[in-house]
């Protein structure tokens, strides 16, 4: 069974600084998708960034980028120029490709605090 692990329950960063959130996963599949979702307090979860496993190039979305290390099964999220609005819980998620399964498997989450 696939699993996703986020080993940092909490992280903090100074406004305008850079922070990296860690995620590791376990799968026997060779092709799959990885995601980072953001969940602000009492708000809905929204997609931050996504990565296809067959792509070697790391995904980037404005201030958000990932470091995808397929062999190490690692998928970290880097937030540059952190803003107060980035404070939230961040979840790493995995989804296999193919088959009739749209199930996302989530990690335990990392709470990010942004200090002014």
């Amino acid at each position: 069974a696939q699993t996703v692990t986020q080993s940092q329950p909490e992280m903090s960063v100074q406004e305008a600084e850079t922070v990296t959130l860690s995620c590791t996963y376990d799968t026997s599949e060779s092709d799959y998708y990885l995601f980072w979702y953001k969940q602000p307090p009492s708000r809905q979860m929204i997609l931050v960034i996504r990565q296809e496993a067959y792509k070697q190039q790391n995904a980037t979305e404005n201030r958000f980028s990932v470091n995808f290390q397929k062999a190490a099964k690692s998928f970290s999220l880097k937030i540059s120029d952190s803003q107060l609005g980035d404070a939230a819980m961040y979840f790493c998620a995995y989804r296999r490709t193919g088959g009739n399964t749209g199930k996302l498997i989530f990690g335990q989450g990392t709470t990010l605090q942004v200090k002014p």
């Binding site: 998708y33 979840f91 009739n100 990690g107």
Partner: protein, 115 residues
């Protein structure tokens, strides 16, 4: 475009009472998910629908939980009777067969407290 709508946002009940949650997915999304999120944890899938059909309900505690998606649009998740351990946020999400695979759109969730 309206997002995924859930109600109620908050519900407090005594144990052994029934409770129901309602979800209206994004228009045109044929896949609907119910996730349960315990405090400080990641969401875990309870059930997934493709149109009206429940295609993955392996994690749904069927002795007390039930769900339905009539006409392949709105969905209701019911717990009867509720137990203390059911206190959690129940998230509904939807996705379409188009666009990026695996991108789910979530509602704000229904927070259940069982006393």
């Amino acid at each position: 475009e309206a997002g995924v709508v859930q109600s109620p946002r908050y519900k407090i009940i005594e144990k052994k009472q029934p409770v129901a949650f309602w979800c209206n997915p994004i228009s045109g999304h044929n896949t609907l998910y119910w996730y349960r999120q315990n405090l400080g944890q990641g969401p875990e899938l309870l059930i997934r629908y493709e149109n009206e059909e429940a295609v993955d309900d392996s994690q749904l505690p069927k002795d007390r939980f039930s769900a339905e998606r009539l006409k392949g649009v709105d969905s209701t998740l019911k717990i009867q009777p509720a137990e203390l351990g059911d206190s959690a946020v129940y998230l509904c999400a939807s996705s379409s067969g188009q666009g990026y695979p695996g991108e789910l759109f979530f509602g704000e969730g229904s927070r259940l407290t069982v006393l």
